[in-house]
Every structure is written in structure tokens, then in C-alpha cells.
Symmetry: C2
Subunit: 207 residues, 2 copies
């Protein structure tokens, strides 16, 4: 019996909304958590079994044709555990940005590589943003799949849209600057955007 991780509780939260079969869960994990808590399907299959071992969910077997299908339901103990977990603030956001390593040390490589990295970041952000907007337009039009949860979904949607928009805007800004740089291996002879080191607007200092 494995310890409970944030991933366990993420699944438990989904089960708090309604029961799901494991396959449905993997789809829902993709739809819901892909944006800020990505995990592979195989882990979902392992984790729900762990929830059952902890007594936080029950498994009910059924079948489609000759094929077995397991449906998971949260237990009262599961709801209690979930509420206890919700009372702990939780961490993040935690950023992991491999491309930014390459950007921060671009002076050790070639100028064209820096431009290619920035373009990749921008394209990734643009396509992620477009995907997210396709998902949110459904919420705007018909309230989406769970209108009774629209208020909390709005909070997360706002963050994610602004986040990916920021990434795209920043990459574009960086591309415009690097385009004008004659070289990257040294700062000398380059018009450095010193505003980058200043507090962004809006910003209020709260000491």
C-alpha cells in the first residue's frame, strides 16, 4: 500500500464529482489536469487501486461484452480525507522550463539556435493557448459539461489563459529583440532591454 500523493488526491477529487470507469478517468485526467498536473495513463490505473486499498474508494466490476470494466466510487472516508487535504493550502506554481536554460546560456551557442528556441516556445504557447480557448469556448456557450462547477472552473481558466498568453507574448518580445542583435556571444555592442530588470507594471510593493 503506497502513500497518498497529490496525484492520489487529484484522482480522489475527480471521484468527488462523480464515479468513473478507469478509462473515463484517464480521459478526464487528460482534459482537466493536462494543464497543470500532467500524469501518464498508466499511473492513473495504479493510483485508483491504491485509493481502494486506503479505503477511500470502492471498485465495482462490470463488463462491456466479454471485456471487464472497473468503475470507481468515492467512499465517505474518501470524502473526509479529501476535505482534510483541501484544508492544507498546497504548493506552486512550480515552473520547469528546459528551453529557458538554453536561452539563459545562449551566449555559449549560435544566434540561430536562440532564435529557433524562442520560435519553438512561442509556437508551443500559441497552440496550447488555442487548445485551451477551444475548451473554454464550450463553457461560455453552454456552461460546459458541469455548469454547477462553473464558478471554480472560471478561476482556473483565467489563470491558464493568462499564463499561456504571457508565454507567447514574452517569446515574441524576445524574438523581436534578438532579431536586431548582431551576435549573441557577448553583451558588447548589443542594445540590452534593461527594462527587463525592472518591476513589471502593475506592481505594488507590500513589505
Amino acid at each position: 500500500m503506497r502513500d497518498l500523493t497529490p496525484t492520489s488526491y487529484a484522482l480522489l477529487a475527480l471521484l468527488g464529482v462523480r464515479p468513473w470507469s478507469t478509462y473515463e478517468l484517464t480521459k478526464q485526467v487528460d482534459r482537466t489536469f493536462r494543464w497543470y498536473w500532467r500524469r501518464r495513463d498508466s499511473l492513473v490505473y495504479a493510483e485508483v487501486k491504491n485509493l481502494v486499498e486506503h479505503g477511500l474508494a470502492t471498485a465495482r466490476k462490470s463488463s462491456t461484452g466479454r471485456r471487464l470494466r472497473t468503475t470507481y466510487t468515492i467512499t465517505p472516508r474518501g470524502r473526509a480525507a479529501l476535505r482534510r487535504w483541501m484544508a492544507i493550502p498546497g504548493t506552486g506554481p512550480d515552473l520547469e522550463f528546459e528551453a529557458l536554460i538554453k536561452i539563459a546560456f545562449a551566449d555559449l551557442g549560435h544566434r540561430d539556435d536562440l532564435l529557433a528556441t524562442l520560435a519553438a516556445v512561442r509556437q508551443n504557447a500559441e497552440s496550447t493557448l488555442a487548445q485551451a480557448l477551444r475548451q473554454t469556448s464550450d463553457y461560455l456557450d453552454h456552461g460546459g459539461p458541469s455548469p454547477e462547477r462553473l464558478h471554480v472552473i472560471a478561476l482556473t481558466a483565467k489563470f491558464l489563459l493568462e499564463y499561456w498568453n504571457l508565454v507567447a507574448e514574452w517569446a515574441q518580445w524576445a524574438e523581436r529583440h534578438v532579431d536586431r542583435w548582431p551576435h549573441v556571444d557577448r553583451a558588447e555592442g548589443i542594445d540590452i532591454p534593461l527594462d527587463a530588470f525592472k518591476p513589471p507594471r502593475p506592481w505594488r510593493h507590500t513589505p
Copy 2:
């Protein structure tokens, strides 16, 4: 001999700037990578040995008093490997945001827990932003520790400052809304910020 990971290359990039002792490396990893590629000190000690095994760096032993000290230097093969790695665009940003799980499913918990989570996120963002600004003010005033690298540092600084500013602003916005909500367990009777589902400004659609 372990395979090379992005972490290996991150250390190799630091060695590309100048040689460091392992302890200095841990300090520099903290200063440089804490913002977007956090790793524990113990991993640094393991990874530099791996770089040597791959022939990408050399270790030179010296001593402070009776204590051994190892200084690592990049090799020509190391520089070549680093440049090859820089030519691959790289991934990210990858977001991991545990608190957002709790926010997205706040309807399964208590209203006060949601407010506490949002406050924690805001405070964390504010203090991270303040830390980052303390570090950047040094760059503005005297060019910082490596003025010859100021142009690429400006690119990363801009992203990080705007990112943490966004987090703080968003959390504040969310707090203001939830403050006015009479309950959290259902959307009914709540003034939902539907703008959250719309594209943020500025936004240009590129199909």
C-alpha cells in the same frame, strides 16, 4: 555511466562560463536555476562526476587546509556537446501547480479553505517576486556578476518577473471574487466572472 539529462547540460552550461568547485556550483545552481530548474545539491555532486565520466569535464583536486576540494573545468568535447544540445529547441514551460487542483475542486471543500489557498499562492508569488527583484536590482545598478552575459540574462529575467507578477495579480483577482461569494459548493447564486473564459488581451489569433 549515466545518460546525460537536461540537468547534466544545465551544469555543463555553468561550466561553459567558468570553472567552479562543486560547492560553488551548488550555490550557483541555486542562484541561477532555482527559478526554472530546481534541483537538490546532492544531485549536483552526482552529476558533475557523470560529466567527467563522459569526458565533458575534468576534475582537479585541491585542498582547503586538510579538506579536499574538487574543481571542474569544461573540456573541448564538453563545449562541442553543449553546442549540439543548444541546437535542439528544448521544451517547456511545464507547469506543476498543486494548489490549483485544490482551487479547481474547491466546491468539494470549504469556502475558507479556498480563501486560504489563494492567500498562500499570492503570498508565495509576492515573496518570490520580491526575491527576484532583489537579485535583478544588482544587474541594473552594476551589471551584476557577469556584465558580458547581461543581454541573455535580460531575456530570462523579463520572463520570470512577469510570470510571478501574473501569479500574484491573478491570486489577488481570485481572492476579490471569492470574497463576494456566499458559498462555494455550487455555482448557483454566484456571480461568475465569465470573462475568465475569453481570450486575454492582448491576443492575436494566428490560425
